[in-house]
Symmetry: D2
């Protein structure tokens, strides 16, 4: 339904617009080249690495029960998303469209038969 | 409006569900601990670094005119988004809610007056 | 002993000089700003993440027994070292001197009594 | 000269031994799986990204004149080196040997004629 589609996109578009306004109000567009945004994005994902680096996989799952740690994870996930939306916006990329295309591609690259229990990258199989 | 809200969320939720199915079909949940997903997420952002590392900032903006390079950027942005949604899903985090909260927080941390033309991190100002 | 010191530095200095020659021969100094080198460095460490991301910690230790995988790790470690030496060289930083200073600092920040069995970052203890 | 070689290696070996002692004294070997060390390594390189992300390439070069910023760069470079040496040590890798091999390989992959003024990755040329 067309209506659904328009409203479906509206939250991402709404966030995108908020981030544009935020940057414009501070005159930060001068800093937001794709190159710089890729650095900020990578730096934010590293904050997540730092949270999980000394935890076992089991402990990383249990972080869901630690309010304080989970709050930090939430904030870092938000930061990653923010820079990702900024980067996509600067290059006029429709993230959700690309994600749907990538999922379809992955379904071909990783057929269930070959990939069951095996996360080996398709080009190393 | 309630209707908007429900449909607004539906594309992200739809992607989230597709990714769940994808992992379940391949029995990949065993690999998708938050720790491992944080590594995959960081590794994907590095693909973007690799694209931009030897470009000037100006050249990084002009990538929008190079169909081939832009296609690669789109794919990497999709990969980052995919792992981010998986990580958030595993920890029951509502990304868009957290992003809106983070934007509100950033508005306090970076008041326009202090932040104009100045991207210095708030705790180093 | 002065003699030891001089010769001790010589392998790192030798590598540093080789890397300078390599860049000069290809006219690559134009690409080697500290900013760009930090991106290349981060991108190379992500290659290591990619190798280890779906392995358990135990499996990551056992990689020592897999000639092929270990060869890949060796190459990525070399790449990280190469960009690190280039970055330090561009900023006239004596890596080994800084490392010794940092180890001394870490001994103060992580006293044995407080840090035993506990890798919590000193500012979160 | 054999003498030079032995003493040449000694500073790296000396650092490696210091880091072993540091980890053993704190019972931290339990945390230092190759997987975890790759995460810590990547997280440290991201600290360098954070320093350089909003700077122009020119400004990143001029950091050499800012005592305070340079001190921070030195510390982060030391951290990267430290985790790199730990990771190599855990996998019995002789970093300097691998670096010399990689430089020799790069000389073949990037012949001066093809690579002059052109940092394109060899497999994308």
């Amino acid at each position: 339904m067309k209506k659904d589609k328009r409203s479906s996109a509206s939250l991402l578009l709404n966030i995108q617009q908020k981030l544009r306004n935020f940057a414009e109000d501070r005159n930060w567009d001068q800093f937001h080249s794709p190159k710089n945004l890729s650095m900020a994005l990578a730096a934010e994902t590293a904050e997540l690495l730092e949270i999980f680096q000394w935890l076992t996989e089991e402990q990383s799952k249990e972080i869901i029960n630690s309010e304080k740690d989970l709050a930090q994870v939430k904030e870092e996930i938000a930061d990653v998303y923010i820079y990702l939306v900024r980067l996509a916006d600067k290059l006029h990329i429709d993230i959700e469209k690309e994600v749907l295309a990538k999922i379809a591609l992955n379904e071909k690259k990783y057929p269930v038969g070959l990939s069951k229990d095996n996360a080996t990258k398709y080009n190393k199989r």
